[in-house]
Amino acid sequence: MTIVGKSKRSPTFRRNRWMLSAILAVIWLYTALPLFYVLVSATKSNNDLFTTFGLWFSDDFRLFENIGQVFSYQDGIFSRWLLNTIVYATVAGIGAALFSTMAGYALAKYDFRGKRLIFAIILGAVMIPQTALVVPLFLLMSKVGMVNTPWAVILPSLVYPPGVFLMRVYADDAIPNELIDAGRVDGAGEFHIFSALTLRLLMPGFATVLILSFVATWNNYFLPLVVLSSAEYFPVTVGLAQWYATATVGSGGGAALFTLVLAGALISIVPVIIAFIVMQRFWQGGLGAGGVKA
């Protein structure tokens, strides 16, 4: 569709394009500022942090040394943290996506007793902020001796109510009832229909929930902070925050931590950013379904 006047040739279009792109560029600068700052700071020595301008590089390019320091500090606990985060986020992400997909599929395509009630409860749960549950969860888990283990972080993260909501809407939209009926007539069992026929249609939604729960788990701070006490199980969020607190409060020894914290921050955000960019095809389709229904 190239409405006359909106084509690339007309002067008003070109003027508008410049103006609007400029607005976005300004917003983009604001968005990029902290990320750029982290990148720049991670390349500096501790001294340079204080003496050189915050938003530009110093002559002393120390990125790789800093990164090396990050991984070697405290007997290399950071690599452990990074590994933990990857494991927690991946397991929780895939698990949450799978369970949400199955639940959403059931709610969208089946009629059964209690369906409305169940959906209302899940919807209500979306409204409950996770933070309210963390402390009671901690107390419950300590009663069964589950605290301070990876499961303490992974298992609660497998519950992602917004994912169920999203997948229900998506399954409603993306899967024609006739497809399921055709499968039944062909003699396939319910689960076989799900895995062989409908799952591939649900993939964009699945990928969306996967990314959203992956990011939610990766970024989670409060839950691991409360349920974990040994540094070896920390995710990077908790670990880095600890370094940050030490750096800020501490004096002589603490000062050296600044570059460490900043370099560590850089390392911990790079994987997720890359994942985002690579997976962008998927989450756009999934979010769209929700948009239509609203």
Binding site: M1, T2, I3, V4, G5, K6, S7
Partner: protein, 351 residues
């Protein structure tokens, strides 16, 4: 109202021509129908007139003024969309008033025009409803009302009846015909349905692959098609087409049949006969023999589908209820005055 003219209009995407170098003249107050199969370019042509598509080259003139570079808003045209394109969040009244509000028309005038349009389309009871509360036919009328209130120089219709069921389609067809009578406005109407084309048009433009096949009044196109495509596109059931070659005293048809003709053109390749010009007689007594395959009785007419030796079906239409048995060998009798001859390239040969 307006005279619309298209001069050498071309619309291409890269190397592909959707519309190739087309000329068209539409008189003031004419009801012109663009008709053709999918992909013929008819909608594109309409949208070029509307300004919703930009021409790659050529000119569009409305009342002598070159509007090629103007946007849709500046061309004073109104369009009725296939999907109605009503604003879902606005009431019927607000939908119709929107264009006038954008043009800063005084409130009293807007109210007057909306009332008048609503009255003429019997929409008054629905003025305060939202589109989702209306039926398909009602939404269609709102779309038409929205077009009317702006008092455009011409109306454009893009397959407006495609989304309606058969009964409603017939009703709305009459509605549109009456609208044209009432307003005497220039109207351009796009459809793939040849019944709509035949019944509504003052002038039909038949399009295929972005090129005009023929322009003329419905009856002209029906009785004197200039090529095979137009001949088979208009008329339901389709015209029957047979291989034909010159033979002694006339034509040899489909290998085994014969038709006497006074003069036979040298380049003849096909013979076309419409179903209503074919009668059924006893075997051996007509122009072409075959076996009755299927008989459809509609009460008012009888359609006989006669299979030839090679399996091809010929459709014959007869009035009333004709007695025919499936499997019966019969002969097809062609009305010699109503046959059409075509050359190897599909062009009509004048008789």
């Amino acid at each position: 109202m307006a005279v619309i003219e298209l001069r050498n209009i071309r619309k291409s995407f890269g190397a592909i021509d959707i519309i190739g170098g087309l000329d068209l003249h539409i008189e003031d107050g004419e009801f012109v129908v663009f008709v053709g199969p999918s992909g013929s370019g008819k909608s594109t042509l309409l949208r070029l007139v509307a300004g919703l598509e930009e021409a790659t080259s050529g000119q569009i003139l409305i009342d002598g003024e070159d509007v090629t570079e103007l946007g849709p808003a500046d061309r004073s045209l109104s369009m009725v969309f296939q999907s109605y394109a009503l604003y879902p969040h606005k009431t019927v009244r607000a939908n119709m008033a929107f264009g006038l509000e954008v043009a800063r028309t005084p409130k009293a005038e807007i109210e007057r025009r909306v009332q008048a349009a609503a009255a003429s389309l019997r929409l008054e009871p629905y003025l305060n409803r939202k589109p989702k509360e209306l039926s398909g036919g009602q939404r269609q009328r709102v779309a038409i009302g929205r077009a009317i209130v702006r008092d455009p120089v011409a109306f454009l219709f893009d397959e407006p009846l495609s989304n309606l069921d058969a009964a409603l389609r017939a009703e709305m067809r009459i509605e549109i015909a009456k609208l044209h009578q009432r307003l005497s406005a220039t109207m351009i109407y796009v459809t793939h349905d040849q019944v709509e084309a035949m019944t509504l048009a003052d002038k039909i433009v038949v399009l295929k692959d972005g090129e005009i096949q023929q322009i003329g009044s419905p009856i002209d196109l029906y009785e004197k098609p200039t090529n095979l495509f137009v001949a088979q596109f208009l008329g339901s059931p389709k015209m029957n087409v047979f291989d034909a070659e010159a033979a002694a005293g006339g034509l040899r048809i489909a290998g085994s049949g014969h038709l006497d003709l006074a003069s036979v053109p040298a380049d003849v390749a096909k013979l076309g006969v419409r179903p209503e010009n074919i009668g059924i007689t006893a075997a051996g007594q007509g122009n072409l023999d075959g076996k009755v395959d299927v008989v459809e009785r509609l009460g008012s007419d009888t359609y006989a589908y006669v299979a030839l030796a090679d399996g091809a079906l010929v459709t014959a239409r007869m009035a009333g209820n004709v007695r025919l048995a499936v499997g019966e060998t019969v002969s097809l009798q062609f009305d010699r005055n109503e046959v059409h001859l075509f050359d190897g390239a599909g062009k009509a040969i004048a008789l």
